[in-house]
Symmetry: C2
């Protein structure tokens, strides 16, 4: 028998389903008194899923495949608008992954960004996009859907999920912010709060660097293709920047799904985080009822939840 | 100017120092009222560092380089003893990385472990090592050195560090256990608590799966070469096992440092986690005083601390 530290085969298959057709394999867990994540997923309904909005979906095409990202205009409307403009102008096409720092971030942008305008390899023009965008480090929680987690968090007075995004809240001052979990997309910036305009973006590829929360603008999260980013060779320079340009990976293109014909889009669905099913999944992940677990944690941190995604099932003829 | 989400150049250099000679670059942060991690490191003394014990140090040689692991006999004496026996018998030499699951674990062992004894490719014999080892999921906290963190944790009533390892404690029942942070080494097991004997080992390569704490035996942590494990191509099979054997990476050898001649060992030092300097580093990481930070977290989770390591400085002639 293969030994493994945890039975989460269904979840592995859910993630894999984005690449191989969306079918779930049979659950190998035995029935137990308390629901398991697998048994909750079995009872999920089609109405528990939402389609990714093509206006908020980026396809980043790398030599190894596609990374699919959902933008978060509810948290960073100005940052998202500028990234949409950069993408529409084809700004990222031909640029590169310029940084890969172990247990931290992968970052992409213009390798010539530091060069002088009149040099042999000048920075790429940003076209109609803005050069400076104010930091959007938090917003007011009012008006946001929010599914709270019951357990304490090291960094926020409350954590939970809003429309599929991990969120921290401060009960006293009413602020809410996206949290730096694995797979979150952020706007790299310099010393000035408005120095990040989305032309350089990073994705978290390690343990959640939650100390960055409210210090940098998060604008989205990766739903598919994370392994293309997380396995990038690490850069040898300070902060994981590549010193050897040949180690960089080039970006074929980044496109908005809504700029592609409908039959060119990937119909990804995300479980609604305000659904009863998702609430049951939280409980099943807090209390791991599978036989393998001897001492269930009965607690869950916001970056340890898995939000299910799938390819939308094809419509049955006659429906 | 290169935009980056965080100024931690000194830390990046500390990690890099294991590969390039141990010298620290100058800190680029400006002086501030509160100490920064960089300013604390500048005032560190030689007595703040401990040598890795060669009897507890594994060198895992892969085609891409060496992974250096410290074992934790204080927490898993039986597991560590069995792994030492396997290593002395050369058990791992020629075996392979058999699993790489994104945001979770890399795992190694015998690719033929599931085959029948009389088959064409039978499992490798484990020699004098034990076939079953009891789970060592926790121990009593009494007698352990412990440097506590002041902030709440989602999974444990208290967290901190013991001789360089991240630890959770339960104040009520006196138990202490190693926590599943990035880079921790664990003993894969099947359904039975004694079914893990160290012949299959895993390393955490993603966000800390803290729900595994106290459900599986942790036996050590990686101090160098993590990037060799974290960038392994992900397996396409369930749980990230490789379905295509050609995707596996073979293990040239795993050796105990104490079984090599002294001049063949790498003189790595780890900052003592019970030193005043480490206590100051915790405070500097809780409150990031660097100018870049606009809203310091003033909190720190156990898996978000960085424990400095370095190559031992060469003795100055005449000393």
């Amino acid at each position: 028998m293969r030994r493994h530290p945890i039975r989460q085969s269904l979840l592995a298959l859910m993630v894999a389903s984005l690449a191989c057709g969306g079918a779930f394999a049979e659950d190998e867990a035995k029935p137990t008194a308390a629901p398991t994540m697998a048994s909750v997923m079995e009872s999920a309904k089609d109405s528990d899923w939402r389609d990714l909005d093509p206006d908020n979906t980026l396809y980043m095409d790398l030599p190894g495949g596609r990374v699919i990202i959902e933008l978060a205009p509810a948290f960073a409307p100005q940052g998202v608008a500028n990234i949409r403009q950069l993408v529409k102008d084809g700004y990222f096409d031909g640029l590169a992954i310029i940084r890969s720092q172990d247990n931290y971030v992968v970052q992409w942008g213009d390798p010539n960004a530091d060069n002088a305008a009149g040099s042999e390899n000048p920075p790429k023009a940003i076209g109609k996009a803005k050069d400076k965008v104010p930091g959007e480090y938090f917003r007011m929680a009012e008006g946001l859907p929010f599914t709270a987690l019951p357990d304490p968090d090291t960094y926020a007075t409350q954590t939970g999920f809003s429309d599929g995004f991990p969120v921290g809240r401060d009960g006293a001052d009413g602020r809410a912010w996206l949290t730096h979990c694995y797979g979150m997309l952020g706007v790299a910036r310099g010393m000035e709060p408005d120095s990040g305009n989305g032309a350089q973006l990073y994705v978290v590829i390690g343990h959640a660097p939650r100390h960055l929360d409210r210090n940098v603008t998060l604008v989205g999260q990766v739903w598919a293709g994370m392994e293309l980013l997380s396995t990038m060779p690490r850069g040898k320079g300070p902060l994981g920047f590549y010193e050897d340009p040949s180690r960089r990976t080039s970006i074929a293109s980044i496109r908005l799904a809504s700029d592609l014909a409908e039959d060119q889009r990937q119909p990804i669905q995300i479980m609604k985080t305000d659904s009863d099913t998702f609430g049951q999944l939280i409980q099943a992940r807090r209390h791991r009822a599978e036989d393998w677990f001897l001492d269930p944690a009965d607690h869950l941190s916001v970056c340890n939840m898995i939000i299910p995604s799938r390819l939308k099932p094809a419509a049955t003829p006659g429906e």
